[in-house]
């Protein structure tokens, strides 16, 4: 390594393609992420429930084992409800993981004035947001739709082709329901972290938006004698969408279409907040 050269020298070597620059952020952020033992432990914990489900699928197809305990094979029924519960549990874990990881993505850069260093290079604001979002997107994918699809493939291989063809739509539902949840969580975490700047406060705010949002929604419903308060409850909106995607009977107060629109509006608001805050310098008018 030419560290003996102590004077300035220019660089004339090859350059990487422009599209690959977002991945630089992903690589460095991910390296930092797993330096924390707590976050690593949490990430590992997120695989316990998929392992339980895997065992459940195995047991459901192993009649002799279940009959030894006097149980019928109907105790563990592998259908859309099974995958709905799977995605609900993993979705909750994804939220907890986001609360730890998300606020640390943008807020340190803003607090330490690092944004001009990114944007004075051939690297746009959109690429920055994409690079940061990819950290959460890939992390959350690893605990939601990817293990979900593994379970689906295992179930398919055990249940045979007719079950697979009849239930192929569940694979699509797994992917879509995970992606919309990942998009909401990523955008919300990044927008709050960009807006608040302090990592801890941003994390607390993310929890507040979810839990106080639910409480606020109940209060609005009770005081105004309406069901419109549910639009403030992101988890309720998400569950409504999931229920419809997994074709489960429900008595939800709002339709899945309304829930989709509300979630897209939340995504739009988060994007607007990011556009406003992720700048090299803020303009004081």
């Amino acid at each position: 390594m030419a560290v003996y050269r102590r004077t300035y020298t220019s660089y004339a070597g090859a350059l990487t393609p422009a599209w690959s620059r977002s991945l630089v952020l992903f690589r460095y952020a991910r390296r930092n992420l797993f330096r924390s033992k707590l976050q690593t432990a949490l990430f590992v914990l997120c695989f316990f429930y998929p392992l339980l489900c895997l065992m459940g699928i195995y047991l459901a197809h192993n009649l002799s084992f279940l009959e030894r305990f006097g149980a019928a094979n109907q105790i563990i029924k592998i259908d859309s409800k099974f995958f709905f519960i799977f995605i609900s549990v993993q979705g909750a874990l994804a939220f907890v993981l986001t609360a730890f990881v998300g606020p640390g993505l943008i807020s340190p850069d803003i607090a330490n004035g690092a944004l001009p260093l990114y944007f004075c290079r051939p690297f746009s604001r959109a690429e920055y947001v994409l690079g940061k979002a990819s950290v959460l997107a890939i992390l959350l994918s690893q605990i939601t739709w990817i293990p979900g699809l593994v379970l689906f493939v295992v179930q398919s291989s055990l249940a045979g082709p007719s079950w697979t063809w009849d239930h192929l739509w569940i694979a699509g539902s797994l992917i879509i329901s995970s992606l919309i949840w990942i998009a909401i969580l990523s955008l919300l975490a990044m927008a709050l972290s960009a807006w608040v700047k302090w990592r801890v406060v941003a994390g607390a705010l993310l929890l507040a938006v979810m839990f106080f949002g639910a409480g606020f929604a109940q209060a609005v419903n009770a005081v105004m004698r309406t069901q419109a308060g549910h639009f403030f409850n992101i988890t309720y909106l998400m569950t409504t969408v999931w229920t419809s995607l997994f074709q489960l009977d429900s008595d939800r107060s709002i339709t899945s279409g309304e829930a989709w629109v509300a979630l897209l509006v939340y995504c739009g608001i988060c994007l607007a907040l990011l556009v406003r805050k992720v700048r090299a310098y803020e303009v004081v008018r």
Partner: protein
Amino acid sequence: MSTAIQNGAAESTNEQTAAAPRTPVIELQNLSVRFGSREILKNLACSLGGRAIGLLGPNGAGKSTLINTLLGFYKPSSGSARVLGYDIRSETRSIRSLVGYMPENDAFISRMSAVSFVQMMAELSGLPPAAALERAHEALFCVGLAEARYREIGTYSLGMKQLAKLAQAIVHGPKLLILDEPTNGLDPSARQRMIRMIRDIRDSRQLQIVLCSHLLRDVEDTCEEVLILKQGRIAHYSNLEEERNANKRFLELETYGANGDFTEAIEKLGCECAVTANRLKMILADGIEIRDIYRLAAERDVRIRRLNFRRDTLEDIFLKAMES
């Protein structure tokens, strides 16, 4: 020479200088920047092509706004500008790939060692990871942070953070280095080191430098050209290098009993004069000797108390620009 100020308020000395074609680093074409109702930069027009360009002005003159506009952080409200031949409105990405920028304020990524930080910045500029790591080590050696390069930047002193910012600005081998107040908050010895480093980089002749500062000594020590801004306008342009190289004989007189008649008589000899209080600054014309000045003084009963050979310092130029 290619440098030409077209601003009405500007006092240009470039016309006196010889013509030497140079590729302009920065060309401002009636550039204006407005934030809401406030006009920060007003119709700036000039072309700068020196190896080291100083951007001077009091606080709030618009120096940083000009730099941020050239980097594409702010959109011009009217007019345009070109950096290294690229338009700031439509070719921002090309400009940014050729520029290294050291911002004024604290700017670092927490929980990252200096090597990782500089390597990441190099990778964002397009260097492959292996080359970026090698260049990061080189850049940190170059700025004098070799021993501390594995420490987290958050634990650095202010001077070390400034050096780390300089390292990230040069790591990708830019063609133009923009330094915004590089000696901010540095103690005298650290300031000296920083200035020496900037001079070394300038003298490597591999890139051009724009140095933005309100510290006149920093600019005087490092720059060849100076653009002075005042309230968003160009107040003065001066090519320090050409003035230093010009074989002019500067003279400063401290007199007693001098009046307009004495100054007029000197000007009639073909000398350029400027009067401040009881001091008289002049550039002796060809063929005029000091004894001619003494003769004029004796004829008018003016006593010369002190006579120095002294050219205008940057401070003189700056103060004149501020008074204009």
